[in-house]
């Protein structure tokens, strides 16, 4: 390669890099625009020209959303249901994945196939049946009703099973030699090894549950039982449209997951790649 061609290649490379960065900024711009608009007074929001930064900086819309609307209740509903889903799904999947991977029992293989098969059925097809089920249990408009149909994430069992399969058998044999009970083997040997996987799976399960829209939307009709993702789209101000107010509610709804992602970036991307690799 002559120096001239190398330089030309570098120029092209630089151009591609710059385009990528520019495009990334453009990509995220609507999010920035939403946040900035929510920090402007209502009359500034509707000005006919573009202002990338508020003239008058105000948090009054947030104060309004938090004090005058039911957003606090919705937050509570979202947090309670998403936490319940996360804890129940991850713990039941952990136990089940461990049993399938490490123990010999009679219906091990059929159970494993059943879990794999449940991948193929999109959960939405059952939504009307879930509705009937939850209605017949009298759980509409309750936390339990929101949680129940969201407890099935076969991906998590599969990730756990594969993780446990990858642990060398020596660990297990040593523990059995020491007369450790099955429970001790699980909690003292296997679980400490997979804290990374567990936190990653827990974070994405939480994000999935927080973001769930369709089911909570169907299962809840009372505004005080709505989760935040449903609430902000269903309840509008009675008198006219307040753009900035609505946007501040949107920012509040997106904030927890956005923060969770930015803090645990590596874990989140890891868990999502992991679950997708299996899905394929």
């Amino acid at each position: 390669m002559t120096p001239a061609t190398a330089q030309r290649l570098n120029m092209a490379g630089l151009a591609i890099t710059l385009t990528t960065v520019l495009f990334a900024v453009l990509w995220a711009f609507p999010l920035y625009w939403g946040v900035v608009s929510s920090l402007k007074p209502e009359d500034e929001v509707v000005r006919p020209y573009i202002e990338l930064w508020p003239d008058t900086f105000t948090i009054s819309h947030y104060v309004f959303a938090l004090t005058q609307t039911q957003i606090g209740t919705w937050y509570l509903n979202s947090i309670a249901t998403a936490l319940a889903i996360t804890v129940l799904t991850v713990s039941s999947s952990l136990l089940c994945g461990y049993a399938i991977s490490q123990l010999e029992f009679r219906f091990r293989r059929p159970l494993w196939w059943l879990i794999l098969a449940s991948f193929m059925v999109p959960m939405q097809t059952m939504i009307v049946n879930h509705f009937e089920l939850v209605a017949s249990l009298g759980l509409l408009n309750t936390w339990a009703g929101i949680v129940l149909p969201q407890l099935i994430h076969p991906v998590i069992i599969i990730v756990y099973k594969q993780f446990f399969d990858g642990v060398p058998k020596d660990f297990r044999e040593a523990a059995v030699m020491d007369n450790a009970s099955e429970w001790r083997i699980l909690t003292r040997v296997y679980m400490p090894m997979n804290w990374g996987v567990t936190t990653a799976l827990a974070i994405v399960t939480f994000i999935w549950s927080w973001n769930a829209f369709l089911w909570p939307f169907l299962a809840v009709t009372q505004t005080d039982m709505m989760t935040i993702t449903v609430g902000i789209t269903q309840v509008n101000d009675a008198f006219g449209v307040y753009y900035a107010r609505q946007l501040s509610a949107a920012v509040l709804a997106g904030l927890p997951v956005a923060i969770a992602y930015l803090v645990f970036q590596r874990r989140v991307t890891e868990a999502i790649t992991l679950s997708a690799g299996i899905k394929g």
């Binding site: 390669m1 591609i16 890099t17 990528t20 495009f23 990334a24 900024v25 990509w27 995220a28 609507p30 999010l31 625009w33 939403g34 929001v45 509707v46 573009i50 713990s91 039941s92 999947s93 136990l95 089940c96 010999e104 939405q124 097809t125 059952m126 009307v128 049946n129 879930h130 089920l133 129940l148 149909p149 407890l151 099935i152 058998k169 059995v176 099955e182 973001n211 829209f213 369709l214 993702t229 902000i232 789209t233 753009y243 609505q246 946007l247 949107a250 709804a253 997106g254 997951v257 956005a258 969770a260 992602y261 970036q265 989140v268 991307t269 790649t273 997708a276 690799g277 899905k279 394929g280």
Partner: protein
């Protein structure tokens, strides 16, 4: 290895029990019921007589079903292939970056994916707002007439498709990045020694080696977009022309009109 078979079975049963209980209630029972019921004339809630395949055959004649089917197909065409290739191109760009800049750029592309659909909806409803939306300034600059995007039947689907690509691309980008990182650096070094051009390297090395990942992303996208409901429902302001297969199946549970319940049961069966 020493094993106590009997006690192991009991332990296994105890460990599997919580999952099985949930699974049986929320998955197995409804699946069987759904399958059985698609052969009966049951209303939305309750049971009915056996009618064989009638639900499936009548489904094809229903106008709204056909509209829904076509809308879904249209939406899939608009999202799956363009979305996958956009994500591929972005992943190629990100893969060239390094260190903090790469993390930052990836975060910008990935952030929308992590957000709830309702936030995506509010942000874009604002961005594309007919009177005050910032995107309308682009229309003005191009000297075009402003378009009330979500009220126009021609613009609705492309707009929602575009927003869907924006929303979900982060996920596909992640998969492409994982694939790109798995390609051994030696292959590129060898190509550089042979003085291969950038385009030739891409055409002969990256593209063929990435094809399995591309196929995977296309499949995942296809499955995902066939189930489209949330975005279309939220943005929807005109009913009939914009229904999709899925909103069609659920419109039943949203509106509760008992007189048309049997028809809905048929719709539900269209997923098999």
């Amino acid at each position: 290895m020493l094993r106590n078979k009997r006690s192991e079975t009991w332990i296994a049963a105890a460990l599997v029990a919580p999952f099985l209980a949930i699974y049986g209630l929320v998955f197995i029972y409804p699946t069987i019921k759904l399958f059985m019921i698609s052969f009966t004339d049951a209303p939305l809630i309750g049971s009915g007589a056996y009618v064989g395949f009638e639900n499936y055959t009548r489904l094809w004649g229903e106008r709204r079903f056909n509209v829904a089917l076509w809308n879904t197909a249209y939406f899939v065409i608009l999202t799956v292939v363009p979305g996958t290739f956009a994500a591929f191109a972005i992943a190629l760009g990100i893969n060239r970056l390094a260190g903090r800049l790469q993390t930052f750029v990836l975060a910008l592309f990935f952030l929308p994916y992590i957000l709830p659909v309702s936030v995506v909806y509010l942000v874009w409803d604002w961005t594309l707002n007919f009177q005050f939306g910032i995107a309308m300034h682009i229309f003005d600059m191009l000297g075009m007439n402003r378009v009330p995007v979500f009220k126009s039947t021609t613009w609705f689907m492309p707009a929602v498709a575009f927003i869907t690509i924006w929303w979900t691309a982060g996920f596909s980008i992640l998969l492409f990045l994982a694939g790109l990182r798995a390609i051994p650096a030696e292959i590129y070094e060898a190509a550089a020694l042979d003085n291969a051009r950038r385009w030739a390297t891409f055409r002969r090395i990256t593209w063929p080696l990435m094809w399995p990942v591309t196929a995977l992303v296309l499949t995942i996208q296809l499955i995902l977009q066939l189930k489209i409901f949330d975005q279309v429902y939220l943005f929807q302001q005109v009913d009939d022309p914009t229904i999709t297969l899925f909103s069609f199946t659920t419109s039943s549970s949203v509106h509760f009109n008992p007189t048309r319940a049997a028809a809905r049961r048929r719709r539900q069966s269209c997923y098999f």
